[in-house]
Symmetry: C2
């Protein structure tokens, strides 16, 4: 994988990030990986506890080639990342489901999706400036612009919050698009075939019961 000039447009494939099948769906393109990560904000974080896998949904933020996850200092993976040396082995996966692919044959039914899988060692972030940057990134990843329109964490809240970092190094995207791939001999079967697109959106914001009516809905929520 070594080149005279490092390739900054793609991540280097590894044994773990090259799929055993559907290899044509895999990509190591940095822009694609970032675009998929930036469209979501909930990941599924996997780690090993007492020899068994654990998968938990959690928020994440991205700053360049670093992903951040946060939580209570009492939560299991964050505690484990802080106590382990050199850190906690994790797999962080983000998936967007874009469409239901209905083939004429049950076998060729599929899903259009875009996913990113990151393998690596998560480390606890202890530098205070990086912790603040990470926490802002986590808030802004969900609602861009929100971190500067909320009260920053105080010392007590910062002390209760653990932040872990996972570098984007061993990472791949996987994408399926397009219609069904039926067998030619099934073409005349009488079943409807095609794709049902999935849509995602935002409903009208619901103000908190105690919100002062003088506080207007901010622009960054009208353009979500």
């Amino acid at each position: 994988m070594e080149n005279a000039m490092p390739d900054t447009t793609t991540y280097a494939p590894s044994e773990r990030t090259v799929p055993t099948r559907s290899r044509e769906r895999a990509s190591y393109n940095r822009d694609l990986v970032h675009a998929i990560l930036d469209e979501g904000y909930v990941c599924h974080l996997g780690f090993v506890r007492d020899g068994a896998p654990v998968v938990l949904p959690t928020l994440y933020g991205r700053v360049g080639d670093r992903l951040y996850v946060h939580g209570s200092t009492g939560s299991r993976p964050l505690r484990m990342a802080g106590q382990s040396d050199p850190g906690l082995a994790v797999c962080l996966t983000v998936t967007h489901v874009d469409g239901l692919v209905l083939a004429r044959s049950a076998f060729h039914h599929s899903i259009n999706y875009r996913s990113v899988v990151v393998h690596g060692i998560a480390h606890e972030v202890v530098d205070e400036e990086e912790r603040r940057t990470a926490l802002d990134a986590l808030v802004d990843h969900v609602v861009p612009g929100r971190s500067s329109d909320s009260r920053p964490a105080n010392a007590k809240e910062l002390a209760a919050t653990a932040v872990i970092r996972l570098d984007l190094e061993e990472v791949s995207a996987k994408v399926r698009t397009g219609g069904p791939n039926d067998e030619p001999e099934d073409a005349s079967l009488p079943h409807w075939t095609g794709v049902v697109p999935l849509t995602r959106g935002y409903g009208a914001p619901v103000p908190a019961a105690d919100l002062d009516p003088a506080v207007a809905l901010p622009d960054y929520l009208t353009t979500l």
Copy 2:
């Protein structure tokens, strides 16, 4: 956890399914667990490979207290489940994100969500009748009614497909609903606060390029 009469309305909590924090969000109610599972069809399946966690998105189906996952006989987790004795330790997680919770303080920002986490040992299904039931359930879980309106798998396709089963025994749901929980002393801060609901839906079905125009859109797609 033992009772004279077994409680069939809830799953028994275990050390792994009792969260270390936000315990009030955890539930072991069987109907709630099933409802969350039935609303989705993509899970994140975690397993351990060479000591490290792997988390992959995949479809699932439910038949009573059994979950099924399928894939190519060449895919890693399915191969590992078939080769391992007594099976493959997995964690299967399903998450629905319902709303963005914007508090006045960055610290109290949150997400409204419903998730189910299942721990257990996945076994390869070898009984042919159970395999067919599982494959129908997988298709019908995504589009109810579709399995009977598509060509069933033939012998070659069945031979290329592995099915694994995970029993719902060690399972919990976690649910967050409602508005922000700001600190009382933050009530007068000038930041908008409330919940932005998230919406999910279906776009207009897109027929395959080679679909005979005489084949009408089936009712089960108009009522998705």
